[in-house]
Symmetry: C2
Subunit: 259 residues, 2 copies
Amino acid sequence: MLQNIRVVLVNTSHPGNIGGAARAMKNMGLSRLVLVDPEEFPSPKALARASGANDLLDNAQVVSTLEEALVGCSLVLGTSARDRRIPWPLLDPRECASKSLEQVALGGEVALVFGREYAGLTNEELQRCQFHVHIPSDPEFGSLNLAAAVQVLTYEVRMAWLAAQGAPTKMEKVEATAILDTRPVTMDELERYFEHLEQTLVEIGFLDPQKPRHLMARLRRLYGRSGISKLEMNILRGILTETQKVARGEPHKRRPDDV
Amino acid sequence: MLQNIRVVLVNTSHPGNIGGAARAMKNMGLSRLVLVDPEEFPSPKALARASGANDLLDNAQVVSTLEEALVGCSLVLGTSARDRRIPWPLLDPRECASKSLEQVALGGEVALVFGREYAGLTNEELQRCQFHVHIPSDPEFGSLNLAAAVQVLTYEVRMAWLAAQGAPTKMEKVEATAILDTRPVTMDELERYFEHLEQTLVEIGFLDPQKPRHLMARLRRLYGRSGISKLEMNILRGILTETQKVARGEPHKRRPDDV
């Protein structure tokens, strides 16, 4: 799906921004870059900023008009920083992403169009876009770097794409040794821990069973919200056991190296 | 609230990235930049990439350890690109933003910590962070430019901040002349349009009242979903009126310049 979303950069001045945009795209899984009348391309500065996204630069399509860049697209979204005299349907980056994904799901192709570094897109160019997209920057300092703007929009596209696949937006690859560490404790395990904790606190003289006040409630609240894993629980229980041994004057030795 | 969220860059190699990060922060309304042991700072390269965010660079705090950078913080979030042997609570950028905003709403201060360009944060540094944040990049090409990563996280912070204020994430400033253009037509105006349209289509011989098929339904569906404004409706009605004049052989002249 992502290959049907192209990024179109119009009349870019600085080749470094083309490289930065290519890197951002590739980071987010996009591959199709179209350059309308770039001032300097190809360029070693673009390669340097692309930082390995050379294939996107090699395959970039260079055309002389926006019209050529949009051939085959069924949805065109243009970034805009300014108020316009003719108001246009306006999206924020998240809405832009969901609209783009809807469109490719229908079999369409989408263009995300970015204007010049200093002047953006002309009114004529903006009128070729069905929707305008505005990144909600601080009105006092509103103009993003071109590659940064590409990064924000392609990031939102990737988030929407991952969501559409039901894929996690977080790395969920966990090594085998880590499984025990992420499996959460069950409520009964937690309950046994609180019993063990209370008993231990009494044994060390920290908790007076005649005047318990709110101590256990506070500890329950703390551990309850911490989302403790089984491995962590083993550690906590181990600490209590050792503490009890100390309190009881039992011989104890340092646990080997199992935590 | 946003002034209580600081960006911490650890041991940055390229001063250009410090400038790019400052610009991204200022675009998103953040102001507090802390640099831990930067390789080259201050630097004209940082100023060039900051593109006007000079105040952030001037006020940047330069310290020699991560510990100093985190003084006063109640929540520390560290960006991480790699799987770690010890799994850590992991957030995506959106979750990172909502957690940060929650924290500042409680009166806390938050640090977003970014590592070195090539090596990221060390394990020891990551263990000083309560949460790790991963930008869900393509696993085949996962490493974002430092300033791009700052852009994504601060963008999400701004989106969450705007949402928390009930503020629009889109520019809603509309000029007076534009009001007519955005005010939607009412259902009865739309109904009168469909009547006018149908009558006109009959008059020009496009619609056979004896065999109407689904033509009007299809046109209703089209205009119905288009969210037509009052100004646009005036234009559409004007077109029909002129079309009828032609169909009726009435004298007609070009409308002045009112659309």
